[in-house]
C-alpha cells in the first residue's frame, strides 16, 4: 500500500495514535486527579523529621516489599480502618529537583502494608529493635537487617537513644546499641503513617468481596469460628512473642502476668482495647483493639487464649461478659 511505503506517514500515524491514547489514558487522568483531589482536613502535614525519614525509606528501597495502599476489598481491611481514597495521596508532592513524587503505593506485599502502621504499631522501641534485626522480634521474618542505621558503643551518653538488643545478636556482649539519626527519622516516618479520619458525616467507601462468616454446624453464634491463637499471632505476637514471654526490657511477658491471669478483667480488656503506658521501662502499647475494631467475640478469644497458654491457668470468659466490660470501659472514657 502506498501509505505504508512512506516512512513519514507510517511512523507519523503510529506516533500520533500512541500519543493520543497516552493523553487519554494517562496524562489527562493524571492532571485531572492531581488538580481535583485535596487532602483531608484531618490529614497532618509531615514535619522535618518525617520528611527525612521518608527519604531514608526511599533510599533503602523499602517499597520493594511494603505497599502503602488499602484496597477496597475485604481481605485488605486488616491494614486499615477504611479503603484508601484519592485524597489520602493528595498532599504528596515532588520530592525535590532531582527526585520524583513518591506515593510509594507499591506492587508487592512481601512484608506487611504500612498505610496505617503509625496506628498499628506506634512503639519506637519496637521499630528500633526490629530495624536493627527483624528476627529479634519476628523469628520467621525475611526482612533485611539495617545495622548501618545504628552505632555500637561501649557507653551510652544521656542524649543517646539506646536500643534493647539481646546480647545474642551482638558480637561483643558488653556493647550497647544506639540509634543513629536516620533510624530515628525512619521511625518518625513510620509513626506518621496513619489513615486520616474522614470528615464527620462522610461514610467511608465499603470493602468489596465480603467474606461470609464461617458458621459451624449446630452452633448458633460464631464464637468458635474466632481463633484466639491466630488473632494473637496477627496482632500481639510481634511484641509479646509466640512464647508469650515478650522481650526483657522492651515488651512485658504475658506468661504468669498478674494482669492476664488475675481477676481484674476490666483493666485487662482496657489494655487490649486502649493500650497502656503506665509501666516504666517498657514500650508504649498501642490501642490494638480499637485500631482493629475488635468485636466482643474477638476480645474473648484473645483473652481466653492468653489466659490458657504458656502455662497460664485463668478462667474462661464468654463474649457476653467481654461485651459488658467493653461497654463499661466505653462509658468511663466518654465521661472523662
Amino acid at each position: 500500500m502506498e501509505f505504508f511505503d512512506n516512512h513519514k506517514k507510517l511512523f507519523g500515524t503510529a506516533a500520533v495514535m500512541f500519543v493520543t491514547l497516552t493523553l487519554v489514558v494517562a496524562i489527562m487522568p493524571a492532571i485531572h486527579n492531581q488538580n481535583k483531589n485535596k487532602p483531608l482536613a484531618g490529614a497532618v502535614e509531615p514535619g522535618d523529621d518525617v520528611i527525612k525519614g521518608k527519604a531514608v525509606f526511599i533510599a533503602n528501597g523499602c517499597v520493594a516489599c511494603h505497599t502503602q495502599q488499602v484496597r477496597n476489598v475485604d481481605m485488605d481491611k486488616v491494614w486499615g480502618s477504611r479503603p484508601g481514597i484519592a485524597a489520602d495521596y493528595a498532599n504528596i508532592r515532588r520530592t525535590d529537583f532531582w527526585r520524583n513524587t513518591a506515593t510509594l503505593m507499591g506492587t508487592e506485599r512481601t512484608g506487611p502494608d504500612l498505610t496505617n502502621i503509625g496506628n498499628r504499631q506506634p512503639s519506637q522501641d519496637w521499630h528500633l529493635v526490629h530495624l536493627f534485626n527483624p528476627r529479634i522480634v519476628v523469628k520467621e521474618s525475611v526482612m533485611p537487617a539495617y545495622p548501618w542505621l545504628f552505632t555500637i558503643k561501649k557507653k551510652i551518653s544521656a542524649q543517646d537513644i539506646a536500643v534493647n538488643v539481646p546480647s545474642s545478636y551482638l558480637q561483643d556482649k558488653e556493647s550497647k546499641v544506639v540509634a543513629n539519626k536516620d533510624a530515628v527519622y525512619l521511625v518518625a516516618y513510620l509513626q506518621y503513617l496513619k489513615q486520616a479520619a474522614l470528615p464527620d458525616g462522610k461514610n467511608a467507601p465499603e470493602f468489596l468481596y465480603k467474606q461470609t462468616q464461617k458458621q459451624l454446624p449446630g452452633n448458633g453464634d460464631n464464637t468458635n469460628a474466632v481463633n484466639g491463637k491466630e488473632l494473637f499471632a496477627a496482632n500481639c505476637q510481634a511484641c509479646h512473642q509466640a512464647n508469650g514471654e515478650g522481650l526483657p526490657g522492651a515488651f512485658p511477658s504475658l506468661k504468669g502476668s498478674p494482669v492476664v491471669t488475675g481477676d481484674n478483667l476490666q483493666l485487662y480488656i482496657d489494655i487490649i482495647m486502649n493500650g497502656y503506658d503506665a509501666n516504666p521501662g517498657y514500650g508504649v502499647m498501642p490501642p490494638v483493639g480499637t485500631n482493629m475494631r475488635f468485636t466482643e467475640n474477638e476480645v474473648a478469644a484473645i483473652v481466653n487464649y492468653e489466659r490458657n497458654s504458656w502455662g497460664n491457668k485463668g478462667g474462661e470468659i464468654t463474649p457476653e461478659e467481654a461485651k459488658k466490660i467493653m461497654e463499661a470501659i466505653q462509658l468511663k472514657i466518654s465521661k472523662e
Binding site: 511512523f11 494517562a26 492531581q34 533510599a59 533503602n60 527526585r99
Partner: protein, 714 residues
C-alpha cells in the same frame, strides 16, 4: 417449579462455589459415602461395558456364519486369493507341481487340524450386594472384602466367555480354511500360471536402489554434502553449521558485536545481582552491608537487565537488521557508537546511584533519577535518527515489517520516558496513574514491540522461508498499539485511582488476546512445514520456546488483570513469576536465538554446540523451576490472605517455594555463564592458525611475488 430446581442445580454444578460473594475454593470433600456409590457405579459401568463387548463379538460371529452360508463360496475365495502373500503362493505352486507328478496330498490334513473347544459351564454368582451407605469403617471394610471375590468371579466369567467366543470363531475359520484348501486343489493349472505367478512377481518386486544413480560412482558436484570425517564420540546431536554469508561491512560488524558484547556483560552483572537477591529470601542475614541491602539491589537487578542487557541486545540486532532490509549502508556508525556509550554510562551510573541510595522515588523501573535516565533517552534519540535516516534512503520500495516494529518501539519509548519524567502531572495520584502506564508500556512497547520486530526478520531467515502472513503482522502491530497503551493501570486494580480507568485497563488486557494470538499464529504457521528443521538447528529451539512463552506468558498477563484474579494474585510472588515468564521466557529466549543466528555471520566463528545446548536446557529448566513454585506458592499466599490468616503465616508458608526459586535462579545464572562463554568463542580471535586458510594465503603471496619477479625480469 421442578424445572427451576433443575436449572439451579445445573448452575451450582457449573459454577461451583465460586460466586462473587463467597470467593472460596470449592468445598467438595470426598466422604466414604461418595466412595461407596462411586465404586458401585464404576462396577456397574464396567459390567455394562463387558456385556456390550461380548454381545458385539457374538453378533459378529453370527454375521460371519450367515455370510459363509449366503455368499457364493467363490466370491469369498477370490477375496482370499487376493490376500495371499508371495510365500503362500509359492507353496501352492509347489503343491500343484508336486500333484502333477501324481502323488496324493496330505495338505488337507495339515490344514484341517481342529482344536476342539471344551464346553465351559461356569456359573456366575448372583450379584445381589445392596451397599447400604453407612459410613462406618468396619462396614466399609466388610463390603470391600465381600466385593473382592464377587468382582474376581465376574472378571473370570468374562474372560472365560471371551475365550469361548474365540474358540467358536476359530472353529468357523477352520471350516472355511478347509473349504478354501479344497477350492485351491480344484483350480486348473492355466488359471494358476496366469493369476498366481503374476501376483507373485508383483508382490516380490523390490527397488534395485540404482534406478536414479545408475552404476556410476557417487560424486558431489554441487557441494551439497558435508560429511564429518572424524565423528569421534558424539555427546550431543550434531546440528547444522551456520551458513557462511557474504561479508558485512567490518565496521558495522564491530559496532553490532560491541552492542551484543556489552549486553552480555550486563546480563551477567544483572542476573548475578538477581541471583543474590533471590538467595536473600532464603538467608536474609547473608550480609548486612548497606550497599548490598535487598531494597537497593532489587532495582539494580531489574534496571540492569532491562536497560543494560535487553535494550543493548535489541538495539545491536536492530543495527544489523535496519540496513539489511533497507538494502543500504547504515546512516551513521558514529551515532551508533555514541548511543552505545550513553547506555553503558546510564546503567553504570544508575546502578551505583541506586546502591548509594539515590532513588527517583520507588516507582518500578523508574528508579534511576532523571539525569541518569536522560542518557538512555539520548541514546534512543540517536538510534531513532540513525534508523529513520537509513530507512529514508532505502532502495526497496516497501518498509519491511521488522522496521515498523523496531522504529515504532523507539518512538513510543521516547514518548513514554517523557511522560514518566516530566514533573507537571506527577503529584498525588497523578504519579500512580503515570507509574502504571510507564511500567507496562516500558515492558510492552519497548521490549515486546522491538523484539517482535527482530523476530519478524530472524525467524524467517533461520527457517529459510518467508513469514507466513504479512497481514497478520500488520494486524498485530496496530492492535498492539490500540490495546497495549490502555492496560497500564491494571497494576493498580482496587487502588484509589478512578474505577473507570481500572476497567479500561482490564478491557485492554482482554483485547491483548488479538495481537498475541495473531503473532503466535504467524510464528507457528511460519514454522509449519519446516518443523524438521528445528531438530538440526541450534537457533530454532530458542525461537520455539520464545514463541510458546509469547503465547502463554502474554495470555497469563490477561488472566491476571481480571478483578477476581487480582484478589488472589496481586501483591504475591505470582507477579514475580509472571514477569520472569515474559521478560525471560519471551524476550531473553528470542534475543539469544537472534544472537546465535547473527554473530557467526559477523565473525565466521561458531560456539561449541554442547555449550549452546547447555545454555538452552539450563535456561529453560531453570526458568520452569523458578516460575512454577512461585506461581503455586503465590496462589496459596493469596488464599491465606483472603481467609484472613495472620500475615506471618503467608511468609513461613512461602519458604520452600522461595528455596525452589533460588535453585531455579541458580540454574538460569549458570546458563548465562555458558552464554558468555559462547559469546567469547564466537567473537574472540582464534588462537589456532587455520591450516587451510594459511595455505591459501601463502599461495596468494607466492602469486603476487611471482608477479613482481616477472615484472622485474621484464
Amino acid at each position: 417449579m421442578k424445572s427451576r430446581f433443575i436449572i439451579n442445580f445445573l448452575l451450582l454444578v457449573v459454577y461451583g462455589n465460586v460466586n462473587g460473594q463467597e470467593m472460596r475454593p470449592s468445598g467438595f470433600t470426598l466422604s466414604s459415602a461418595h466412595l461407596q456409590t462411586g465404586c458401585i457405579f464404576a462396577m456397574l459401568f464396567f459390567l455394562l461395558a463387558a456385556v456390550l463387548v461380548l454381545k458385539k463379538k457374538v453378533s459378529m460371529l453370527q454375521k460371519k456364519r450367515r455370510e459363509l452360508q449366503q455368499k457364493g463360496d467363490s466370491k469369498v475365495f477370490r477375496a482370499h486369493m487376493h490376500k495371499l502373500t508371495g510365500k503362500q503362493i509359492e507353496t501352492i505352486i509347489k503343491y500343484k507341481a508336486w500333484k502333477k507328478t501324481g502323488r496324493q496330498s496330505s495338505l488337507m490334513l495339515l490344514l484341517s487340524v481342529l482344536i476342539t473347544g471344551s464346553a465351559n459351564n461356569l456359573t456366575a454368582q448372583p450379584m445381589t450386594e445392596k451397599g447400604e451407605l453407612l459410613s462406618q469403617g468396619g462396614i466399609i471394610i466388610t463390603i470391600i472384602l465381600v466385593l473382592i471375590p464377587i468382582i474376581a468371579a465376574v472378571l473370570l466369567f468374562i474372560v472365560r466367555l471371551n475365550r469361548l467366543i474365540t474358540q467358536h470363531k476359530n472353529k468357523l475359520n477352520m471350516q472355511e480354511a478347509a473349504k478354501f484348501a479344497q477350492y485351491l486343489q480344484t483350480l486348473t493349472d492355466e488359471e494358476l500360471s496366469e493369476t498366481l505367478k503374476k501376483r507373485k512377481t508383483a508382490l516380490e518386486y523390490t527397488l534395485a536402489n540404482n534406478e536414479l544413480s545408475g552404476n556410476e560412482p557417487p560424486e558431489d558436484s554441487k557441494g551439497l554434502l558435508n560429511i564429518n570425517q572424524e565423528p569421534g564420540l558424539p555427546i550431543v546431536a550434531i546440528k547444522k553449521k551456520a551458513l557462511p554469508r557474504p561479508n558485512i561491512d567490518p565496521a558495522l560488524s564491530k559496532l553490532v558485536l560491541w552492542y551484543l558484547g556489552c549486553a552480555t556483560f550486563w546480563l551477567l552483572f544483572g542476573t548475578t545481582v538477581g541471583e543474590y537477591v533471590g538467595i536473600k529470601f532464603v538467608a536474609p542475614d547473608i550480609d548486612q552491608s548497606s550497599w548490598l541491602s535487598f531494597g537497593k539491589l532489587r532495582p539494580v537487578h531489574t534496571n540492569s537487565v532491562f536497560w543494560g542487557w535487553a535494550s543493548l541486545g535489541m538495539l545491536g540486532l536492530g543495527y544489523y537488521i535496519v540496513p539489511r532490509v533497507s538494502n543500504v549502508k547504515l546512516y551513521s556508525l558514529r551515532l551508533g557508537w555514541y548511543a552505545l556509550y550513553c547506555i553503558n554510562a546510564c546503567v553504570l551510573i544508575g546502578s551505583i546511584c541506586l546502591m548509594a541510595g539515590i532513588n527517583n522515588g520507588g516507582g518500578e523501573y523508574r528508579e534511576y533519577i532523571w539525569p541518569v535516565m536522560l542518557l538512555f533517552g539520548v541514546a534512543l534519540g540517536l538510534s531513532l535518527i540513525n534508523y529513520i535516516k537509513t530507512i529514508a534512503s532505502r532502495t526497496t520500495r516497501e518498509i519491511y515489517i521488522s522496521n515498523w516494529y523496531m522504529v515504532s518501539a523507539i518512538i513510543f519509548t521516547i514518548i513514554i520516558s517523557l511522560a514518566a519524567y516530566i514533573p507537571y502531572w506527577q503529584n498525588g495520584l497523578g504519579e500512580t496513574i503515570i507509574q502504571g502506564y510507564y511500567m507496562h508500556q516500558g515492558v510492552g512497547m519497548w521490549f515486546m514491540l522491538f523484539t517482535l520486530g527482530i523476530v519478524y526478520y530472524f525467524l524467517p531467515q533461520q527457517l529459510n522461508k518467508p513469514i507466513y502472513s504479512y497481514s497478520l503482522g500488520v494486524l498485530a502491530f496496530w492492535t498492539q498499539i490500540l490495546f497495549y497503551t490502555l492496560i497500564g493501570t491494571h497494576h493498580f486494580v482496587f487502588s484509589s485511582i478512578p474505577w473507570w480507568l481500572q476497567t479500561v485497563a482490564i478491557v485492554g488486557s482482554a483485547g491483548m488476546a488479538i495481537p498475541v494470538i495473531a503473532g503466535t499464529t504467524n510464528f507457528l504457521m511460519t514454522f509449519n512445514g519446516a518443523w524438521y528443521k528445528v531438530k538440526d538447528s541450534y537457533t530454532l529451539p530458542f525461537f520455539l520456546v520464545g514463541t510458546v512463552f509469547y503465547f502463554t506468558g502474554s495470555m497469563q498477563g490477561t488472566a491476571e488483570a481480571f478483578r477476581y484474579t487480582n484478589l488472589l494474585w496481586h501483591f504475591t510472588d505470582f507477579t514475580v513469576a509472571h514477569s520472569h515468564l515474559t521478560m525471560y521466557g519471551i524476550i531473553c529466549f528470542f534475543l539469544w536465538a537472534c544472537i546465535y543466528a547473527v554473530v557467526p555471520r559477523l565473525t565466521g566463528k561458531e560456539a561449541p554446540q554442547i555449550t549452546i545446548g547447555a545454555h538452552f536446557w539450563l535456561a529453560l529448566i531453570g526458568m520452569l523451576f523458578y516460575t512454577i513454585p512461585l506461581m503455586y506458592g503465590g496462589t496459596l499466599k493469596g488464599l491465606l490472605w483472603m481467609n484472613g490468616k495472620p500475615f506471618m503465616e503467608s511468609v513461613t508458608m512461602m519458604a520452600p517455594y522461595w528455596l525452589w526459586r533460588a535453585i531455579g535462579g541458580s540454574l538460569m545464572w549458570l546458563s548465562h555463564l555458558f552464554f558468555a562463554y559462547n559469546m567469547y568463542k564466537m567473537i574472540a580471535r582464534r588462537p589456532e592458525t587455520d591450516i587451510r586458510e594459511t595455505a591459501i594465503d601463502q599461495l596468494k603471496q607466492n602469486l603476487s611475488t611471482g608477479h613482481t619477479t616477472l615484472y622485474n625480469h621484464l
